[in-house]
């Protein structure tokens, strides 16, 4: 809501700077989104009378004028041709500051001095009209400040009105609110007019859709002067409030809406055939609107029609038919209350939001109707020469009356946490328009119908709190102490994220939705359909991810494109899988999703909530290591992404995991593995398949991994194992085996021996080449032995023999050099 301050002052007096006003409103009522300036913010604008006017001698498009400013004559260079000797014009003098911050100076334009500027409507903040200089009528006295007639500058507050306060969508409501904040009074314009126009009841009024239209009023105004313009000050206010001036009748309609917050509509009465009908649109009915578009309507939408055709999409926008025009001399004023939700849905479905729909969709107070109706009528009489009908037509079958809400002071004190004085609470509520009766410890509050948001005690407590001042609320902490903390899983995720960061990976967060290419490029299109967004921002963001991989790969592509030299990313996030509810349960599922209720299927059969959700979320951790993950240093060579780099990370995250070759369409078949914990799949690790890398536009395949968080143990609970203080003996054993023999199997076999002395075993070298036969490899193992007491050579050798025998039996391993 745009609030021009000069307009606001018509209803309420206040002596605050703009900053103070903004603070008062934002600390006690609504957020102020912005402060805008219009016209001349500081300086002097006077009524000048043009004495001479003619072309500039040195410029084709400039003119030069001599202007009488009331006793002194100045020369002014102008760009517009419309002034003439004798015309009254607004002249802004050098030194003045315009709304955009520019300061006007004396200037020489093509050799001629210019001592000021004659102003257009736009420069004065009256309209967007910049076609010529504003010409003032004879009532403006030469030499007088223009501000004596209308404000030459305007400050407009942009209020971000909360949706529960439709009363603040009008100037009067804002004035009432400000008066309540400042504990002062406000004024509502007096409605005084004479009637004598043609009667309204020559037209019919039939409300067919009462459920969507609680109130509908009509009043006729005849004998209007056609084609008139609204007074300058009214046009200026409408413009400052953000609307356009059209003609006197439309401007008065809009002015009243801005003033009262109550939309209205004005029909050209001569075009209304028979009478007004308020009904639902018919199937297939269409209407060509004022904005030139033709809209198809449906029976959910409320329209205002005459006996023959639709005239207005109720509360939203009018059609061209029966619209007020330059020839209109007689009107029907509609002021009505519509069901807010219906207006909201119609406006949303048509994608049509207007000043009127924005107000109507909040659901307005039907008791606002008479004032707005007669305000339009009286302004039409005053400014357009109209004659007001003596009668009105009104359909208001169920009048809304004010209501009473009790307020317990001790309840207010409990919620607000501050002492509340009964009298002060009463005064504050009265300033909002309530009537308050005081009983012991309790107030009985009668709420005016325009405050439909004040239904409950707690609503009143909020009003008292904000008007008394939230700065009075002290800072305290709740007294109770409860056990809290992170769950083991939450702690684990923390540790895991820190561990990965310490291992050199950067934590990324990517979008969980993407294009179907994500799936097809990974070769995952054979599985079942992923969950999809019904209304994605674009097709590129429709499918929910079933793996973290594509988002991370897209990030890797981006980093490569911007020349980041390799790098490692990880993400902790959820992946989504669709499990549509089983056949026959769909209705139950939808009912559950919309109401939270689980319908029983039989006396004891209750479907579980998870299956009714139909989408399963699994938290995972994924990583991508691309290119150079550690650059060369002067004393260390670079580390490039590869299978074992990724595997090393996985080993830190899932201690005790086993790695089993297993094909995945997007991974290198020879450089990837399933990660298993026991027999259960925990995830996968590998180098990206070169073809997949190409599809993603990566210059070389990165190493990637993904694990289910449930299987990660980044910091397993330690379990102490006793040890003896005897030296550990280390022995190496190099064996030659067939190339295909997995080293991991060899270690596992050794471990399975269950040697009581063996405390460690690792592979420290693998060699294939000239020193061993073709098709074979040498695997060098290092064992550590420790016993209860210092081990003898014999004991160690015996153990080593046992190991090599077992390796020979299991893998035909020949001990090298033996």
């Amino acid at each position: 809501m745009r609030v021009p301050l000069s307009w606001l002052r018509e209803y309420v007096d206040f002596d605050l700077s703009v900053d103070e006003l903004v603070e008062a409103i934002s600390l006690h009522s609504q957020e102020v989104d912005g402060v805008h300036g219009l016209g001349v913010l500081d300086g002097e604008v006077v009524v000048g009378e043009v004495v001479e006017f003619g072309p500039h001698p040195n410029a084709d498009r400039l003119f030069v004028a001599k202007v009488d400013l009331g006793g002194r004559e100045v020369q002014i260079v102008a760009g517009a041709p419309n002034p003439y000797p004798g015309a009254r014009v607004p002249v802004v003098l050098p030194g003045s500051v315009m709304a955009d911050g520019t300061k006007l100076r004396k200037a020489k334009l093509r050799g001629l001095e210019s001592n000021g500027m004659m102003m257009s409507e736009r420069e004065l903040g009256i309209s967007n009209d910049h076609d010529g200089i504003l010409l003032l009528d004879e009532s403006h006295k030469t030499g007088r400040p223009v501000a004596d007639y209308f404000p030459v500058g305007e400050t407009v507050l942009e209020l971000d009105v909360n949706p529960n306060r439709p009363d603040l969508w009008g100037m009067i409501g804002v004035a009432r609110e400000l008066a309540a904040i400042l504990r002062t009074d406000f004024r509502i314009p007096e409605l005084s007019f004479e009637t004598g126009g043609l009667p309204t009841d020559e037209y019919g009024l039939r409300v067919e859709a009462e459920d969507l239209c609680p109130r509908y009023d009509l009043r006729r105004v005849s004998n209007l002067v056609p084609g008139g313009r609204a007074p300058l000050e009214m046009r200026r206010r409408i413009f400052a409030a953000g609307m356009r001036s059209i003609n006197a009748i439309v401007d008065i309609s809009n002015f009243t809406m801005l003033e009262t917050g109550q939309p209205n509509h004005v029909f050209d009465a001569s075009q209304v055939r028979g009478g007004i009908v308020v009904r639902r649109a018919r199937e297939g009915e269409a209407m060509t609107l004022l904005d030139g578009t033709t809209r198809k309507l449906d029976p959910e939408m409320l329209i205002i029609a005459d006996e023959e055709r639709g005239l207005v999409i109720a509360g939203v926008m009018g059609a061209g038919d029966a619209e007020v025009g330059e020839e209109t001399s007689e009107v029907l004023i509609e002021v009505a209350t519509f069901a807010g939700r219906s207006i909201f849905e119609t406006s949303a479905r048509l994608g049509l939001r207007t000043e009127a729909s924005g107000r109507n969709e909040r659901g307005l107070d039907p008791n606002m109707v008479p004032f707005a109706r007669d305000r339009v009528a009286s302004l039409l009489a005053r400014h357009a020469g109209g004659k007001i009908a003596p009668d009105t037509l009104s359909h208001y079958p169920e009048p809304v009356r004010d209501w009473e809400v009790p307020l317990r002071i001790e309840r207010a004190e409990l919620l607000l946490g501050v002492p509340v004085e009964k009298d002060e609470a009463a005064r504050r509520l009265e300033s909002l328009g309530c009537e308050v009766r005081s009983e012991d410890g309790e107030l009985s509050v009668t709420v005016p119908t325009f405050r439909r948001d004040l239904r409950r005690e707690v609503d009143l407590i909020e009003e008292v709190g904000r008007l008394v001042g939230l700065d009075r609320v002290p800072e305290e902490l709740p007294k109770t102490s409860v056990p809290g903390g992170l769950t083991p899983t939450q702690k684990k995720v923390r540790t895991l994220r820190r561990l990965l960061a310490d291992l050199g990976l950067a934590e990324a967060i990517t979008y969980p939705f993407g294009p179907d290419r994500w799936r097809t490029d990974l070769g995952l299109d054979s599985g079942h359909e992923p969950p999809k967004l019904a209304n994605p921002l674009s097709e590129q963001a429709r499918e929910m991810r079933s793996t973290l991989l594509p988002g991370l790969l897209d990030a890797a592509v981006r980093n490569e494109a911007f020349g980041v030299e390799g790098g490692a990313l990880f993400e902790v996030g959820r992946v989504f899988e669709a499990h549509p509810p089983p056949e026959g349960l769909r209705e139950t599922a939808i009912h559950f999703r919309l109401t939270g209720e689980v319908n029983r299927l039989g006396p004891d059969v209750e479907p579980d909530a998870a299956s009714l959700m139909g989408i399963e979320e699994t938290p995972k951790v994924g990583g991508v290591l691309a290119g150079t993950i550690r650059p060369a240093n002067w004393n260390a060579s670079e580390r490039r992404a590869g299978f074992f780099e990724a595997k090393g990370i996985v080993e830190r995250l899932v201690p005790g995991a086993s790695f089993v070759p297993e094909d995945r369409p997007f991974l290198h078949p020879g450089r990837s593995a399933a990660v298993r914990v026991g027999d259960v799949l925990a995830g996968w690790v590998g180098e990206l398949h070169p073809e997949t890398a190409e599809r993603f536009d990566l210059s070389s395949p990165p190493a990637v991994f993904e694990l289910e968080l449930a299987f990660c143990e980044p910091d397993p609970t330690p379990r102490f194992r006793p040890f003896t203080n005897v030296p550990t003996v280390s022995r190496d054993l190099a064996v030659v085996v067939e190339s295909w023999v997995p080293a991991g199997d060899m270690l596992a076999t050794v471990e399975a021996l269950g040697s009581p002395l063996l405390v460690g075993a690792r592979v420290f070298d693998v060699y294939e080449g000239a020193q061993v036969p073709e098709g074979q490899k040498s695997v060098a193992l290092r064992f550590a032995f420790r016993g209860e007491e210092t081990l003898t050579d014999e004991a160690v050798n015996a153990e080593l023999d046992r190991i090599s025998r077992r390796l020979r039996e299991s893998f035909s391993a020949e001990v090298r050099g033996a």
Binding site: L415, S481, D502, G504, E507, N633
Partner: protein, 394 residues
């Protein structure tokens, strides 16, 4: 005495010893020992005593000579050679000490004492010089081992944590310290829990205020983390003290809005919870995240599931409200931090709590925006692009 005389005679008659004496004399080296031997021999023959004073003088002369040589030594190797020469098995001093046994008993203490003293002096000199030379040699070695300390160290990998998650962790830690639990919930949420249970029935205009992503009928990507509050309250009795961070989604995309963003919500429901508790709790949180000096203020606001509703501003932690040109608060002196309020009685009733018995406060904040303010980031879209030039800064 008889034994001594016999030995002296043996010495005197030993042509080998005489030869040694002769050679030493020719070489101009110390002849004193043989001289003493001679004296001893003569003395023995004459039944007289060796001139003890002379022996003592010779011993101290030897010690002096050794000390001079040691002081002049310039390396540990040379020093070792001198040690052998002056203190070794075949050194003069050793000879002299052997001689002591040949002396009359009454002469031995004096001569032996002198020899020992000479040996001690020499050893002292050696030790001192050894220490000096060791230090000097170590210093020399260290000098030669010097490296260019401006060369970079071994590059241990350095990763980073996402800026939003840094803020999330900080906020969560604060509330955990107050005894809150961390509650989580699904990102795909039911229409009921995301809206209706939060006092936003179908057709309510607030539903458009948060443009929602829809999935299968009745399912949405949660537009707020508030459904977690409902889930928590449905699953337990008060008191409830939870904080719930998570991803949320709205159909919005521009420099200050991304279709995914983070929220942290909190909820405290107990007997006697007041707006003052809300203010105190959030003020303490703001000071935890933005520094001890920040102040907070409440402004009235509107949320469907709280009444009264407030917004919390934090005084600008950069300029403190003093700089009209401050880039962080844009001169306002205050930063909008979060929305909050007292839990609406309708919401409490919906989950089966008695609003007359229990009251509560709830709040919600945007850790992405808090990170933007805290770290001076201007474009929210950067948060979700996985760009290492961005991520590595945190």
């Amino acid at each position: 005495m008889a034994r001594l005389a016999r030995e002296a005679a043996r010495l005197a008659n030993t042509s080998k010893f005489a030869e040694q004496v002769r050679q030493a004399a020719e070489a101009g080296r110390h002849v004193d020992v043989s001289k003493f031997a001679e004296q001893a021999r003569q003395a023995a023959e004459a039944g007289r005593h060796v001139d003890q004073t002379q022996v003592v003088a010779e011993a101290s002369r030897l010690a002096e000579q050794a000390q001079t040589a040691v002081k002049a030594a310039n390396s540990l190797a040379e020093l070792e050679r001198l040690r052998v020469e002056y203190l070794g098995r075949s050194s003069q001093l050793t000879e002299l000490r052997r001689l002591v046994r040949e002396l009359p008993v009454e002469a031995r203490p004096q001569v032996g004492g002198a020899a020992n003293k000479a040996a001690q002096n020499m050893e002292g000199a050696f030790e001192t010089r050894w220490a000096e030379l060791t230090v000097a040699e170590r210093e020399e070695r260290l000098r030669s081992e010097a490296v260019d300390v401006t060369l970079p160290g071994v590059p241990y990998p350095k990763g980073s944590l996402h800026p939003s998650m840094r803020v999330v962790d900080e906020v969560v830690d604060f509330f955990v310290g107050l005894g809150y639990r961390v509650a989580e919930g699904p990102e795909v949420e039911t229409d009921y829990l995301n809206f209706t249970a939060l006092n936003i029935p179908p057709g309510h205009p607030a539903r458009t205020m948060q443009d929602t992503f829809f999935l299968d009928e009745g399912l949405v990507l949660r537009t707020q983390t508030s459904p977690i509050q409902i889930r928590t309250m449905l699953s337990q009795e008060p008191p409830v003290y939870i904080v719930s961070p998570g991803k949320t989604y709205r159909r919005d995309s521009d420099p200050t809005h991304t279709p995914m963003f983070h929220q942290i919500e909190g909820l405290a429901v107990d007997r006697g919870i007041t707006l003052a508790h809300l203010k105190g709790t959030l003020a303490a949180m703001a000071r935890h995240v933005f520094g001890e000096d920040v102040k907070v203020r409440l402004r009235p606001s509107y949320f469907q599931f709280t009444e009264p509703s407030v917004e919390l501003d934090v005084s600008c932690f950069v300029c403190g409200g003093a700089d009209p040109k401050c880039k962080v608060c844009k001169g306002a002196g205050w930063l909008e931090m979060l929305g909050a309020g007292m839990v609406d009685p309708t919401v409490l009733s919906e989950v089966g709590y008695d609003p007359e018995e229990f009251t509560g406060f709830a709040f919600g904040m945007g850790p992405d925006r808090m990170a933007m303010v805290k770290y001076g980031i201007s474009d929210l879209r950067l948060f979700f692009e996985g760009d290492l030039r961005f991520l590595r800064q945190f």
